[in-house]
Symmetry: C2
Subunit: 701 residues, 2 copies
């Protein structure tokens, strides 16, 4: 890999815990064993090639002649021990770490299992470990992990065979699981990439993903980060770390738990999987690129480790393909990723005509027919088109017809280039290697090329979105919701104050007031039970619609009284339209979250919703619409009303700001928010007060 | 690869066209060139290693000393020319093929472009080619293709470099495009597989996918088929070929065109892409396994080339993983594929306890912790569980800890096994090779393992479904829809005859009849405009609901009269419930097709529908429900009614049978079909007569 070399080991006085962990001057393997099948023996083998000081420790079986010390203190007499690799059973780990800290180590890896994932006794061992870390300040990776790799430093703090063969490179892997950490590092190596650091967090008694992400912010070896998430303890800290890191280095995230994997997940990490949807939404909002599986993760982070597009709302992709069939697969796949594949300008098509036979398709995709030496000129012509921000090219490996690396050398680099090269065998691998060495992301198939292209686009779009997205929590001016509970009239008064349109309404204490309201509101009205204690009015017969006459009103009021209505809300009926649901609630992990979805039972059953953390910007809120599967309903479906995204975004932002500013509020929901030809109207609203003990510092910043 | 050897070239007298093409005794390259960059030169190089007779032909530049003949007739004097590889420009192809046929060739490949995909002149050339094929009986592959590979016969009838290096194996590739054919062959080779035959169809002037599929039915080398579809000309022929082949060999299909790729697709093949949804539904119904991209295609067909599960409604998967994190990725992915991952029996858990430490999860997935020599015993214990039909295992490559191929050798084979082995480098590749050689499908990552497992399950389920699915078209007894047009009452009479429940109704010629109907039907009624010429009553104000009194009826009748109603339908109102849409229509490519979807605007905007070809079995129709995203609405959502799948399937089958039996019917739709606590009721129905010219033989078998 270019530009990535071990940085030497000097100047490490004043190592903080994470530098002691990932860039130690010296290492001790605590529990080093003579039995080659034991963990301690495997670790001793793994670190044998480390260029710094390496000490082996075995209290029960020391062997001074073989350099096996009786204690870590003794080991520290012979060289600096910044890092202890702890390979003793769970019950002995806390003591081993305490001794290590006393001997001067500032970091330790705990490999073994048998902690929080394994029942009450293990939970106690894990608490003991946490207490030692707390008391001594030593930083801990694990327990229940296979460790980490830092190939650029010659450091393989992992017991997995073959881990030392993963080459040094630009990609950092931060994985919830040690197994996944290694699986990803191996997949990256197979794809021609190397890693700067690859960490498996395990149970995370001390170090969590956000700590490693923070550390990577200043790691110049790393140009892109692969993040694997199983559960989240502190959502806001994670999001903050991702947002800071993504500003300088792309972060590609794979979140486990789309489906029900709860019992096994709990057994694995000792933590319940967090909400998959919310975690994904939060990470995307922070600027991460999301992927659906490990292979897409490798494609995405591999491409992003080599190049990043300038931030843009919707970069255009020029497609050049030497074979139409794979080009069609690529186009189809890119359309599914909402890629803009613009028509090329007349000037571009004219320029292409000089290089291509008239039979080929030249609009975008550009089909070169059988490629020849003119391939570079075709790339250059498409790249020069003003609508093209990224060039995606595919060709079968045909060295007899043209030399792809040479074509790339002749390519003027007007816009970045990403390639797919089909073929099998060593010669193809050499060609792909040659392209990677030129800084060109390269896939082996159209789907991989689409995944790479999609990741480059997603990153560019995310940076465009997040650029202006740093919004301080605002306390919406002059709004004081008070302690609750709130009835519908009070909830709507809050909405009125927020600038959300409601229908004219009257809260009525008795029949006389209701009749006055009907007269004043003129036209059909809805009459509803008004009681802060009742959240689901409709289900107990507490709503009567289309009331026009005094007779109908009396019938309605009778019905509401017998449903237990203490008071009434009389409200002018809204025009017909399309119903939405908009809400804000406090997520236990991520704090204030806003939600937009289509209304009605079907949309609810389909869970067709978009989520974001609050507070958020208007443009971030408007982007939620693009995620709704049924958004066609909001775009003038069958002559229906057309949504102004900014208007909806205004409502979303207002609810998010309100919840973020008032910790006494647990949830506010408008259901339905009706889209009509006259605009948006909040037809029903519910506010729920927070239980006092639910509030904590985390949910209010 | 085991069991796959060239079968020699004897006994080929009486070669049919496809044997002449794929297993010729001799070959002539027509248009063989001295210029190494020309197509004809590339083909000459490609076939140089063919063990049979090879002749080169160049009419303008013959070179008897170098074995370049002046004509194919001359070439045929020196050896048998069963197959002509035609490398001349488009305008000369028809003549070249005619000469080849005259010289005794029974098959030809036309490589060049410039035919139907390239405008009117090319269309003429393509018609000329078709005419020669028709006249002489010669079978044609192409034009506009890079040809085919038959590595087991030493035959590389392709100009793509490296194609000759694709090893012989068990998988046949049938691709719409020559480029995709090669891309897939290379991907299969990279994954450790070989091909028995790999064909790119190109423009398909003669040979279509179904011809090659039919040929493969008797090809003993082939154990699985990869099918790539861009467009379909004759849907029923394709489906028939897939169904026949899938009975003996798994067929895995990748269909292009999920998104809008129309213009480029048309330029590529000269044909409009067919409906992606309908094509996928038809292929699945015929027994094919569907995949979403090329990589899943390789995983799926690779696994299925090695093993097939017994047909079963829902086989259970036992998961054994050496690392919890990758196991969690695998479980999550499999849940998304609707895999059954059953809890293991107490007996199994007891047996596992002998081999595993108590810390590990042992219910399913089974987490072995760090694997050791006991891995084989764990596999055996899980495989012995009565709920497990397939074992999916994942482990990082750890040769020091345990020998995976040896574990596989010790595995008793109670149920089939599929494995994922993480790692990088030659040693891992050797291990994967060793597993493949033992007949074990092996992936490099959890997603690939899930794709393999999912394909094995999909194939087993499809065979279970299609076993009893061979249904002759039935003319529903005693039903004669007549020539149409049909008003709602007549359409419902058809439904009554089919056994689909409607509400009690009266067709009324005037007000008096309508009032009589109200009295007879007792209770609230719907009053509707009755006119066979009006398809969308609601949109012109032709429907009034909830009419209870004679006064209300008069108001309703006035309104309908002013909406232009010549007659009225008075019908008892149905109970509340969940609305569905069920219909049958004639697809231009596939003929009668049935559709089931959720009703209402939202479901329509989301296009949440399932499709099948008609006629179909009740169990096939019932399986449509599993594809609906919103199916929770039909399963007692919030106290709502619960659908009896057989009842809905009965309606679907009846509509499909009706359409299949009566070619005068273009479409019949029930919208809504309401699911209530009292069962299903057809609330509105529309029948549309076929335009006479739309009917043809294809759509009625």
């Amino acid at each position: 890999m270019t530009g990535v070399e071990p940085d030497g080991l000097g100047g490490l006085d004043g190592l903080d815990g994470l530098n002691a962990l990932f860039a130690p001057r010296g290492i001790a393997v605590v529990g080093a064993s003579r039995d080659p099948a034991k963990l301690g023996a495997a670790l001793a083998r793994s670190v044998a090639g480390f260029p710094g000081y390496v000490a082996l420790v075995n209290a029960r079986d020391p062997d001074p002649a073989a350099g096996v010390h009786a204690s870590i203190a003794e080991a520290a007499e012979h060289g600096p021990v910044d890092l202890a690799l702890v390979c003793v059973p769970a019950r002995g780990c806390a003591d081993a770490v305490a001794e290590a800290a006393k001997a001067g180590a500032r970091a330790a890896v705990i490999y073994g299992g048998g902690f929080a994932e394994a029942g009450p006794e293990g939970e106690r061992y894990q608490r003991d470990l946490a207490a030692v870390a707390e008391r001594t300040g030593i930083r801990l990776l694990g327990p229940n992990t296979s460790g980490f790799l830092a190939p650029g430093r010659g450091l393989t703090a992992s017991f997995v065979p073959g881990a030392a063969d993963v080459p040094a490179g630009r990609i950092a892997v931060v994985a919830a699981s040690g197994g996944v950490n290694h699986a990803l590092a191996f997949l990256l190596a197979e794809a021609g990439h190397g890693v700067s650091l690859a960490v498996g967090l395990g149970n995370g008694v001390d170090l969590a993903a956000e700590d490693v992400l923070d550390h990577l912010e200043s790691d110049e070896r790393t140009t892109a980060v692969a993040l694997h998430i199983e559960s989240v303890a502190d959502g806001r800290r994670l999001v903050g770390a991702v947002a800071r890191l993504a500003a300088t280095r792309p972060v590609v995230a794979l979140v486990v738990g789309r489906h029900d994997v709860g019992a096994f997940a709990a057994s694995h990490t000792g933590a319940l999987a967090t909400s998959w949807r919310t975690t994904r939404a939060a990470l995307a909002q922070a600027g991460a690129v999301l992927v659906d599986d490990e292979r897409e993760l490798v494609d995405a982070v591999g491409a992003l480790s080599l190049l990043r597009l300038p931030a843009a709302a919707d970069p255009g992709v020029g497609i050049v393909t030497a074979q139409a069939g794979p080009g069609l697969l690529l186009l189809d796949d890119l359309r599914g990723r909402h890629a803009a594949v613009p028509e090329l300008s007349d000037a571009t098509v004219g320029a292409l005509a000089e290089h291509l036979p008239p039979l080929t398709y030249q609009r975008n995709p550009v089909d070169t027919g059988r490629p020849g030496p003119g391939f570079a000129a075709v790339l250059a012509a498409v790249a020069a088109d003003p609508a093209v921000d990224l060039l995606a090219g595919y060709a079968l490996h045909e060295p007899a017809a043209f030399d792809l690396p040479k074509a790339v050398d002749a390519y003027p680099g007007t816009v970045p280039l990403v390639l797919g090269v089909g073929g099998a065998g060593d010669d193809v691998r050499r060609t792909r290697r040659a392209l990677l060495d030129r800084g060109i992301p390269v896939a082996g198939d159209p789907h991989g090329l689409a995944a790479m292209t999609g990741a480059l686009l997603a990153d560019a779009r995310a940076r465009h979105r997040t650029r202006a997205a740093s919004v301080p929590a605002r306390r919406p001016a002059g709004i004081e919701p008070g302690p609750g509970p709130w009835d519908e009239d009070q909830a709507k008064a809050l909405l009125d104050a927020l600038g959300v349109t409601t229908m004219p309404r009257r809260a009525c204490a008795d029949r006389a007031e209701a009749h006055r309201a009907l007269a004043e509101l003129s036209g059909p009205v809805a009459v509803k039970l008004l009681d802060a204690a009742v959240l689901h009015k409709t289900e107990i017969g507490g709503v009567r619609l289309g009331v026009r006459t005094t007779e109908e009103l009396d019938v309605a009021l009778d019905a509401l009284r017998s449903a237990g209505a203490p008071r009434f809300l009389v409200e002018r009926m809204a025009p017909a339209g399309v119903d939405l649901v908009v809400g804000a609630r406090r997520d236990p992990v991520f704090g204030p979250v806003v939600l937009v979805g289509l209304g009605g039972t079907t949309a609810e059953a389909l869970a067709d919703v978009a989520l974001r953390l609050a507070p958020l910007t208007v443009s971030e809120a408007a982007s939620m619409l693009t995620e709704l599967a049924g958004r066609a309903l909001l775009e003038g479906w069958r002559g229906g009303p057309v949504l102004d995204p900014a208007a909806l975004a205004g409502v979303v932002v207002a609810l998010g700001d309100l919840l973020a500013a008032h910790r006494g509020l647990e949830e506010i929901e408008i259901n339905p928010l009706r889209l009509t030809h006259q605009g948006l109207f909040a037809l029903d609203a519910v506010c729920i007060a927070a239980e006092p003990e639910v509030s904590d510092g985390r949910t209010d910043h």
